[in-house]
């Protein structure tokens, strides 16, 4: 009884509680995922998870109608291969001019970055709350932004 009493003094319980809390904190720290730069995301821009530089050789614009059907696409050369790496931001502006005789209705678009092999290495997509109507002869610019 004397021993038991000695082990259960308030000071002893506080010591045990402190140890248990330390164990809990250490376990929680291991289990909680750290915030990485790839999880950060700013409105209107896409964060890339890659830490290695991407080699970009071109880009393309894909326009879609309200049914999600691709109605127009075009590729551009970036003027030679360039690298897009960490701590850099990249803006790509694509333009579309409606050369048809009818209105064009666009509800979403994608801008794709392509590597040297012509394969898509990154994609930016955005949609409009209401479809955008582009009358014949009119143009519209579509921007995309990435950060790594």
């Amino acid at each position: 009884m004397k021993v038991f009493w000695r082990q259960t003094t308030p000071a002893s319980w506080l010591q045990r509680l402190g140890s248990a809390l330390n164990v809990f904190r250490a376990t929680a720290k291991r289990l909680t995922p750290r915030e990485t730069k790839s999880t950060r995301r700013e409105e209107g821009s896409a964060s890339l998870s890659q830490t290695q530089a991407l080699k970009i050789a071109g880009y393309s614009l894909v326009l879609m109608d309200p049914d999600g059907q691709v109605i127009w696409t075009r590729e551009w050369d970036s003027g030679g291969v360039f690298e897009f790496g960490p701590r850099q931001r990249l803006w790509v502006f694509c333009g579309f001019t409606n050369h048809s005789k009818r209105e064009t209705e666009i509800s979403e678009y994608e801008i794709e970055l392509m590597g040297e092999d012509g394969l898509v290495v990154e994609r930016f997509g955005d949609s409009f709350g209401d479809s955008v109507i582009i009358p014949p002869g009119e143009s519209k610019n579509f921007p995309a932004e990435w950060r790594m």
Binding site: R40, S78, W91, G95, S139, P143
Partner: protein, 139 residues
């Protein structure tokens, strides 16, 4: 100095070395590296202009590709792309379809889409001196 062309006719590469100052219109074909100083105008139909860290350009630039690591005061029109790295100091408006900016670069001016699109309706406006600090974004 009008009608300036690259000093290496075979490769089409030109260079304005450190300590060299060129005043006037500079026309080049494929590529021009600037380590010195240029005042006036720099032009190329589809060539690449590389302004290195010691480079100091006080001129309007009209090229295919513009890579900036040094100082540039003037407007840039690039038909393909513009790359601005962290050592760059740019004062002027930029017109290009593709813009790459590294954190730490100093950029003051308006950015508009390339002339390939009929109208420049969408523009990013950088008010005053916007420094893309290292503390911003990915850390």
């Amino acid at each position: 100095m009008k009608g300036f062309k690259g000093n290496d006719e075979d490769s089409g590469q030109g260079r304005i070395s450190r300590g060299v100052e060129v005043s006037g219109d500079v026309l080049f074909a494929d590529a021009l590296q600037v380590d010195g100083k240029v005042t006036g105008k720099l032009m190329s139909e589809s060539g690449a202009l590389m302004i290195e860290q010691t480079g100091d350009i006080q001129a309007d630039v009209d090229v295919g590709v513009c890579v900036i690591r040094g100082s540039l005061t003037g407007n840039v029109n690039a038909r393909s792309r513009v790359e601005i790295y962290k050592t760059a100091r740019v004062q002027g408006d930029i017109t290009t379809p593709v813009l790459l900016v590294e954190e730490g670069a100093m950029l003051s001016g308006a950015i508009t889409m390339g002339k390939a699109a009929a109208r420049q309706t969408d523009a990013i406006r950088l008010d005053g001196n916007e420094e893309l600090r290292k503390s911003q974004g990915a850390s």
